[in-house]
């Protein structure tokens, strides 16, 4: 895969834009095999994951990404993101760390046609 890093960046930007604007739209990146750990709770499959993400009792907005690192592991993108999160209107930002293992589908010309999140581990580290 050419330019793993830029592809990772593209995914991350799209993902966090989705998180703050249109969570339901993220349904497309999860599959029935996707696994999400949200804090300590485990959700498997796109349906369960979307249900969780859309029913959070608070609004996560304004993800501020601090670091992004990516490696190619097993032909998937392994992504480690750290940043700060604004929850509801609380002015206190919270540190968060999120891991993704993402498979990238490419068209015949090598163009990115889609992302599928295999693993998503979200953690707050106050």
């Amino acid at each position: 895969m050419a330019n793993v890093e830029e592809i990772a960046k593209q995914f991350v930007n799209g993902f966090f834009t989705g998180m703050s604007t249109n969570i339901a739209g993220l349904a497309a990146v999860y599959t029935p095999q996707s696994v999400l750990t949200f804090e300590s709770q485990k959700f498997e499959g796109a349906n369960a994951i979307l249900e969780k993400l859309t029913s959070l009792p608070f609004k996560m907005s304004g993800h501020q990404l601090s670091t992004l690192d990516a490696q190619l592991a097993d032909n998937d993108l392994l992504i480690l993101v750290t940043g700060k999160l604004k929850v509801d209107e609380d002015e206190n930002l919270i540190n968060f760390v999120q891991n993704f293992k993402v498979s990238v589908s490419q068209g015949p010309g090598g163009e990115i046609t889609g992302f599928l999140v295999k693993n998503d581990i979200f953690k707050l580290v106050y």
Partner: protein, 650 residues
Amino acid sequence: MAPRGKNQPAREARNPLGTKSSSRGGIQKRRGPTKTDNDGDLDMDAPSKRLNRGSTNEPSGRGRPSGRGPSRGAAKVAQIVMKQLGSGNSSDLSARISRPTRSRGGFIEGLTWLRIHGLKQSKAASNPDGGLSDLLSFMERKASSLSTGRRRHTIRKSHRAGDYVFIGANKEDADEFLKINALTFAGTKLEVVESNEDFAPPKKATESPETAELRSKLQAILSQRYIGDNKLLKLDALASDAELVTLGMFETRERALKTFKGLMAICDGLFKTPQEKKDAIESISLANNSIDDVIQVESVASSFPQLKNLDMSGNQISNMEGLKRWKGKFKELETLYTTGNPIEGADANFQATLLEWFPKLRIINGIELRTAQQIAEQEAARQPKPIPQSGPDFRDVNGIGEQFLLDFFAAYDSNREALTSRLYDAGSQFSLAVDAVSVRDPNAPPPLPWAAYIKSSRNLQKITTLHARSQRLFKGANAIYNLWRDLPMTKHPNMKDELSKYIMDCHPLPGLADPTGQSQLGVDGLIIAVHGEFEEYDQKSGLTGKRSFSRTFVLAPGLSGSAQIRVVSDMLSLRAYSPLPNVFVAPSSAPADTANQHQAMIAELSKQTGMVPQYSEMCLSQVEWDFGKALVIFNEKKSQLPPEAFASAT
């Protein structure tokens, strides 16, 4: 010297700043019968230090703490202040400090002063104290050997001023010391003459004589206004302090401001460490100073940021604007007096605002508006914890992940080379990223510098060129070890003993590609995300400290028979130290149960005010469930409340 404010007696009676009001303001240790040392100085500690006077290197004649005695704490504090106040080069000061005792107790006969020249030219001048103690003991020794009698001759007081040393002794001893004139001390002929300047002021000190004198006078005034037992500095009614008035310190507003700044600067200079200052002075009274804006005394906040009690009563503050310069300061302030300021009638909300401005403030004008516990609860409520951290999601396979983690951090700390050769191979990848902008406890010490890591930091947000990115991705066990070898040494907490310092999650990864190609379906691996902390020792900078980290591993079965697993990917993220929530204790109050909390507040407010719950609830909801504010509002509106607001007395 007692402060001389007109309404002082009343103020003393309910002095918030200390329960025991000492009869006088002078620095004075509590002790049985008043004792002074021979020349009338307050003797801070009883044991007779005079016995070893001959070899003393304490020429100014004040005692050392004995380290014993019942009121050691207060005495120690008083001692520090006393010592510091007296550390100027001025016996003038000593005289002032001792004056109250003199005038009160038996008058002790004055000393005869001699002026000595030659110390500065002598070889002893290069000694640590400039040779002063050597000179003094030389003189005492010499005088004793010169005199006919067997008596010891003692220097009672001494100080240095410019090229001269002044010593004070009783008349008889002084006559003996005069005989030393023209004798040789450390290679220099001494000149010893009687000094007719009483407490001769320094002649060639670095400060101008005027400044030095003023400083010593202010020091003396400060010392008289410090009550060691109560850790109280009484700066009240300064403008009617006879001595300050005599000095003309409050003649003009400008002069008064300068005087106050000077007083604070002297205070600052008295203590070696902030802790010493904090221990010595917990309370300050600024009462009756006609202050209409705290800008006039702003430096109190910078000099005493950890002040606990403050008396501002009897001033001219008429609105919150006049207190604004202190907003956000005095983070430890618990008690505040504002009575007698125009603001009391002018701003109905000023108490509530004060509670907002000073986070630990509990008591205003003697009324407790919130308890320490309530403050703690409010602080806890401000902590952002919207999502309960209830433990790891660790879905291991055959205990491999657990075994890996137990092994990994210990090995990373002790032998990175062995670790890379054991668990990493030519296909393994490692990268690290520094998160220098993470949220951290503002009260924690500043984070360790990032220098050791920053050049390898692969934050793709910042490292944008292909070349730099690939340089910072370490492929293969050798390259990884070569990097690790140069990273600071670390010590991760022992996972078995201190599990609470980690949070880790683990997902099985089915169908990971099998590098041997033997399995078409791939092999099973693990993805592990660990969050934790470590102690660091940077060999290059010599710095030690803690950092927080998050680290992600992708593990796969080992290729050879020898290793069970291998690390496919290892990504490290570093940030400033900030302890993790302990997810391994049962969540006590979280998630915050708002309804229960409100009920508890209603019950408490009803209990404290006698209101029926409905009224308590109305009151609380008006102020958005801020208990402190509710109490304030209650106290204001109390008289207007209808009878049914209160529970009928049964």
